[in-house]
Amino acid sequence: MTKVPVEFTLNTREQNEFVETGSTLLSALRDRLGLYGTKAGCHQGTCGACTVIIDGEPHLSCLTLAERCQGKDVTTLEGLAPAGALHPLQQAFMDGFAAQCGFCTPGMILAAKCLLDRNPDPTRDEVVDAISGNICRCTGYEPIIAAILTAAQGMRKPARKRA
């Protein structure tokens, strides 16, 4: 199997890797870099469990060839908060029991982060749309939607204080 070099930013750090041609970003993250926060689900772009953020937009790492990440800025769940700390979205998911088995949670949180980065004050419908590509078989979605709205509210408060 031929390997090619790829240079990209991963969770704010420069990353240089040799990846197999035709391999996916999902495979590089899990099998080479040991970042298991990104889940391997359907491998067909249907479940959203492998969602990562590339250049500010949600992407499916199972459908992204690792070589095409050259020069890109990739964020996985591990890059959301410093070690030992939780991002407000993670905290809201935990407080609101928005996970049961937890398999969809990383994808849900990263899809939600993309929404809140762009739209800090989303409506419920906008939250539903943001996670529409992420399947959860446990929660019935309601606690997830509530957690994202709660996180959004919490993240807006400091900005208001500064204003």
């Binding site: 095409r68 590509g133 992420n134």
Partner: protein, 266 residues
């Protein structure tokens, strides 16, 4: 399985790679899914360095580069009429990846944007390795398999007059799923009568098709419930839908008229 990936430096060089069995990878939402299922060895070629990700709107004419994503269409305020179409395709992650050019080759029940482009009478610009040429989208779709050996550069169309473009994608699971039936229509009116109506269907044949008998029923008539009902009876006359995991062919034929009536009567 052996996969190689290279970036095309010029569009004219792409067909030569395709002639040797290479395939263009645009957003990757279809091809990489195939690779994950264990597709054969393939030489993939990207169009990432060709600047095909531009949207131009000039004098009412819209030109979308082949690599423009659904997310880019959904963000562009000049393309508001296409927002419901782009937003009906996948979730946000799929929309950030899936391209206009790739959608032209998406097999049924996918290809909703192509149904919209068909009703807009779009023109496809492609490079055959020797020269750039333009094809009406209907001709392009009829030759789609053969044209996989060419490089789609861009898609152009005239923006429809306000209020004349209609679109609905019927799905089993809201908000996101593959199409049961997709209907796109441009219904212009002149002096109170319908003139040059165009209706396209997605998921009702191997690729998007025009519903010409329904169009003919509308032509020259005043838009009203009676004439919409008459056209609805003909909406699936030229369709050849398939049974798949989302719906049976019978069900698709049954509900296409219902949603056509709802779409135009709304």
């Amino acid at each position: 399985m052996s996969v190689t990936l290279s970036a095309a430096k010029q569009a004219r060089l792409v067909p030569a790679v395709q002639a040797k069995g290479g395939r263009i990878i645009a957003g990757g939402t279809l091809i990489v899914a195939d690779l994950n299922y264990g597709a054969d060895s393939v030489a993939l070629i990207t169009l990432d360095r060709l600047g095909f990700d531009k949207i131009a709107v000039k004098g009412g004419k819209v030109t979308l580069g082949a690599m423009v994503t659904m997310a880019a269409v959904a963000r562009d305020r000049r393309l508001k009429f296409l927002h419901p179409v782009a937003n009906s395709i996948g979730g946000p992650a799929v929309r950030a990846m899936a391209t206009i050019g790739g959608n032209l080759f998406a097999p049924a029940p996918y290809g909703d944007m192509t149904a919209a482009l068909l009703t807009l009478d779009a023109e496809i610009t492609l490079h055959d390795g020797k020269a750039t040429r333009k094809l009406p989208i209907e001709t392009f779709l009829a030759q789609r398999r053969k044209l996989q050996k060419h490089c789609v550069v861009s898609i152009s169309f005239a923006a429809p007059s306000a209020g004349t473009f209609h679109y609905v994608k019927v799905v089993r699971r809201k908000p996101v799923s593959a199409s049961v039936v997709t209907i796109a229509a441009v219904i212009p009116q002149k002096a109170g009568k319908i003139k040059d109506a165009r209706i396209a269907l997605g998921a009702m044949a191997a690729n998007a098709i025009r519903a010409r008998k329904a169009e003919a029923a509308l032509e020259g008539r005043k838009l009203g419930n009676d004439i919409i009902a008459t056209a609805a009876k003909l909406i699936a006359a030229e369709a050849s839908p398939a049974d798949d995991a989302y719906a049976t062919a019978w069900y698709r034929r049954e509900i296409a008229p219902v949603h056509f009536v709802r779409l135009l009567a709304a």
